[in-house]
Symmetry: C2
Amino acid sequence: MTESALSPELEAVVAAAEASAASFAATRPEDRAGAIVAIADALEAAKARLVEIAMRETGLTEARLNGEVTRTAVQLRLFADTLVDGAYLDARIDPADPDFVLGPRPDVRRTHLPLGPVINFSASNFPFAFSVLGGDSAAILAAGCPLIVKAHSGHPELSDATAEVALAALRGTGMPDGIFQLVHGRDAGVEILKDPRIKAGSFTGSIGIGRLLADIAAARPAPIPFYGELGSVNPVFITADAIAERADAIASGYLTSVSGSAGQLCTKPGFVFIPEGSALPAAIATTGTDLPEHRLLGPRIAQSFADRRDAILASTGVRPVLAGAIRFDEDGQGWATPTVVAVSLDDFRSGREALVEEAFGPLSILVEVPAGTDLAALMPEFYEGNLTGTLHLSEREATGETENAGELRALVSAISRQVGRVLFNGWSTGVAVTPAQQHGGPWPATTNDSSTSVGTAAIARFQRPVAYQNAPAAFLPAALRDDNPLGVPQAFSPAGESPQWGARWR
Amino acid sequence: MTESALSPELEAVVAAAEASAASFAATRPEDRAGAIVAIADALEAAKARLVEIAMRETGLTEARLNGEVTRTAVQLRLFADTLVDGAYLDARIDPADPDFVLGPRPDVRRTHLPLGPVINFSASNFPFAFSVLGGDSAAILAAGCPLIVKAHSGHPELSDATAEVALAALRGTGMPDGIFQLVHGRDAGVEILKDPRIKAGSFTGSIGIGRLLADIAAARPAPIPFYGELGSVNPVFITADAIAERADAIASGYLTSVSGSAGQLCTKPGFVFIPEGSALPAAIATTGTDLPEHRLLGPRIAQSFADRRDAILASTGVRPVLAGAIRFDEDGQGWATPTVVAVSLDDFRSGREALVEEAFGPLSILVEVPAGTDLAALMPEFYEGNLTGTLHLSEREATGETENAGELRALVSAISRQVGRVLFNGWSTGVAVTPAQQHGGPWPATTNDSSTSVGTAAIARFQRPVAYQNAPAAFLPAALRDDNPLGVPQAFSPAGESPQWGARWR
């Protein structure tokens, strides 16, 4: 064992996580589920107190924060369901086959084991749902991995208070000590990420910091997976027919999505491609009068939003549709109303340097596209990976039987190649927490596009597959036993049946 | 589009792969399966000719190479089965739920799409099964990703001949041009890996080269997944009871495993922990007389094996059990018989610098362990990640009801934490190609331990999840449609049922 490079405080944290790893991995899924439900209960019981701190530290509204606590608790409960269901273990059983085409085949059984200690860097913009007890934390604990949370500097008091709630709830659940710890400070997070006892990292935040941390994880003597959810501008395409059918409804849904949480959401629709000369800008201008002012998360985020907004407004051909505003109060906090601008495709193309990057705050850009433009070609021309891409169709177009159906299919296919979630006739903010959810996408939407950061499939991030060959029942993981004591789904590949189709083809 | 950094030849290769990506992704799984079976048929039809080239280029025996072609063809057929079965698409359907606990939930459906063009660096030691048409190539094509194979310099003529077989077979299958290409030269491989149109890399080979390529993949402006299968020493633990029960059978199985393919297998058992004073070394010495000499793959591998062997034999306390030998012929090719040495645990500990690294060739080390040693502690003391770990038990111990059952369970758990496959009473060479197989393990066994490089689960490497929200049937991928035209397994999460257990717990 080499000398630890960590300070005594951080060494104690990592050592405690490591010391709990084997016994936490050995807990029964149902017992981990019980512990997670205990945390969810405690979180909901502490809601009023926690939301009060969160309002002060983040400027988000009480309604939004109350909803976020509920979402976070439900998210924890869904992971408890996932554990009891057992499909997450992906148990596969290939019984021995003495007549296998390549010679006798042994009994091989495969399931997933937890990776070991994980550090989760929490986000600024979701002080509950992507923070101390957020989705990644829930997935890490559900997988059976000791969790170290790096608190976000934007809500330190809330982070401490939330961690206390979780620690109190964990007492008496029978879970080992050391499975849940909180640290503050980016340097502390980086040092922990570098420690050889840490087996994975997760993160929600900016492209810059996410890339920095991903590079650190990849450059370790023993590299580890790093799941960063970074930036996204979430392109939207709206057909002429859809606008003709329901311009006002689209304008209203759009503005709700752009202005919610003061636009500080990674799923905010940043660009909307619409036909030149459509009625949508006017509908947006009408619908968007008197939208309330919202505080941004913190002075640094506000300043950087103000700068991006100025640069966008100064770009050639950019025309305000909804002027919006940003002002700073005596504490340096920024307060904004939504800004929507329009630009022609040509001006977007020539001004792309100024325009194409994410503006984190309540601003969105309408790009007016001449008739006959190949919409499918715009995705790769302007964008790398995104969390989402959206298409608004008319009822008639949704049947797939209109003249432009081929073009629309090509567009859906182009969007699919560059995003994690494709939406129809909806708005990308508000991510449903369900088993089929995919919150991810190619770089720079994420640092690793093999999994999701929202929804119960996220548990796969913190597990790795292990096969057991000819193992006596007494030494098999419970999920792989013939008597299936956990009652999990087991996929069998019976002897004598493989390859079937491949062999019959000739 | 920025100017390509590639030479005109390589630019043409990458451009052809990219040009085929969308249409290849859109092919029906059953049609890709047909193309893969056509390749398997053609490979088997060309067996005699290809094996002749392979014998000359690799020095491997005709029997071994014939078996490898069959294995490679069966492997391709199994991926065809995988495509027709459809479980690889992991189709999940969460119908809309107006009464979801967090408010109305949209219809969300999730499946997997191919990543896009992939480069696969082939291996020296399996000129068929991990080369031009090997497991990764099969998985890449099955996933619907255009494949660029970087040929191994150890068998260039065989690589060209195999690629011709595949290309001829693909003609007439209706697959787009550009989905299968071969390049030679490490520089070419590196340049292609750096190209932004390439979406993943795979590799089988040494830790040094694997790390180099993984670092390149991680450092790209847009990082991509890189699946390298690297080094492994495959520790084995044999109990006193097992040796007392069947020393000769163990000795014989062990020597077959160490000497097969001249020990040039990533799954060769490199270290065997046995009780001090056991009868196994004598049984090995007796069984191992007159083992035939085998040529090593090439002069460089042979020289590096000879050097490792010398260093091991010179280490303090190392005692030959089976002397073995290596000689070089006039062409610089090395010919070896197996070497087995024994060393006490104390001398292993003090000589670890010289001993613990992989010796790629027919050599294995017996470590004699005093009674009372905590075997579970040896795994983390001496090893990082490994592809396999093995335990040999007596019949009585296999029941899990002997006095030492607790220790054995702790050992299995310690092995599980550090390997991809845990074997009982068997030998790690010879990896069954089945749905439950896991050929992987923590660094440095692999650069990415989230998946397997052998077995049909490997297809997951080359796909990424995409969710569709409220998509009209006409625009959904076939796997996600209610009418399920592909007949794939679909996992439903019915409305009104979630969370269940998490909600009921209180």
